[in-house]
Symmetry: C2
Subunit: 208 residues, 2 copies
């Protein structure tokens, strides 16, 4: 849950020569692949602003308000917004971060809003809440248009590029699912398989 | 454009015993009246978060990048977001404001993102840009659901309350319009008429 722990995992993976990747399944959906392709092609011009929001009442789940169990809005939900912004800006580090939020008595965040400033006058912002429902949508605004990821942005199946909607349906499930679009897990699994076949130690699309 | 100038206007109106109201036409659209009614009824429970965004490339208009002419994103566009938040929170003053943005060489803001904290653990945030297009939408998230104002939120004609869409069409124009939904100006004009008939010195829905 912190940088020290991540470093331990990284060191251990290196020492033992094993594959390690952060399990951000969102990155491997066909819609995410398309976003990266369109951005690289300059489809919406120069990107100036990225935004995302994600809110789900979560505090009925016992661990979600416990600090030592990684509770709170940012770690539980905001991470989906942050990974999106990080993907769009090619893992560039922001020049400044401003954040403000609401804290529960247990010491975890109920809601957080964050503004990030990047080089070349680019911005990003996101809002997450474990207290109230927010639409899980994201957008990328450029000098030549806007690209939107419809809800749920964390397992994206619909992109809107300058008002043109394209659907990217996930495979039909053969058994009942516990979570939204769980069959989309196969995209991440396939990426790991490809990395292992090539002998890579991590995925280029999900670097730690 | 600043508090001193507003005070001069207020003093002059009082001294001369004339009607004065800030011309926020958005407040008088039937959709805005409905929002206030639904909030008062507790339709979405206790409001916890309000958000809005508005972005239009504006810098081809000469005055929009001139500081002494009131240029920039916040004064030109952000004000529509702020008035929405202020309406939802009944003109309560925020307890804290965090803002970050991009400044042009002329000294005006190209883009701004703002996070506001209110009493009782309530929040608001908005983003505005005079450099790129952003969807002009707003939302109000409560403990019992979410209310959305579809674009254009500054002259609202469609509300979504817990996924149920209701349209509030403006009157048909009898002549070509220069601006979006200009016939919606009549709602504000009617409010002023009613205030004048009653001898009020301002409107209760648009206090300075």
């Amino acid at each position: 849950m912190n940088a020290k722990e991540v470093k331990e995992i990284l060191d251990s993976a290196k020492k033992n020569d094993v594959f390690l990747m952060e399990a951000v399944w969102t990155r491997f959906f066909p819609a995410s692949v398309e976003i990266r392709k369109l951005l690289a092609q300059g489809e919406i011009g120069e990107v100036k602003m990225v935004g995302a929001e994600y809110g789900v009442p979560l505090f009925h789940v016992p661990r979600s308000d416990q600090k030592d169990l990684g509770g709170g809005a940012l770690l539980g939900l905001g991470i989906s917004c942050l990974q999106f912004i990080s993907m769009v800006y090619n893992r560039e580090k922001p020049e400044s971060i401003q954040a403000s939020g609401i804290c529960l008595e247990t010491g975890v965040d109920e809601s957080v809003a964050v503004i990030l400033q990047y080089s070349k006058n680019r911005m990003a912002m996101f809002t997450c809440s474990a207290g109230v429902h927010l639409h899980g949508e994201a957008f990328i605004a450029g000098t030549n248009g806007i690209m939107e990821v419809l809800s749920p942005m964390w397992c994206p199946t619909a992109l809107v590029v300058n008002e043109k909607v394209t659907q990217y349906p996930v495979p039909e499930p053969s058994l009942p699912l516990n979570f939204t679009y769980s069959t989309g897990m196969r995209y991440e699994a396939e990426e790991v398989r490809q990395c292992l076949l090539k002998g890579n130690e991590t995925s280029a699309f999900c670097l730690l």
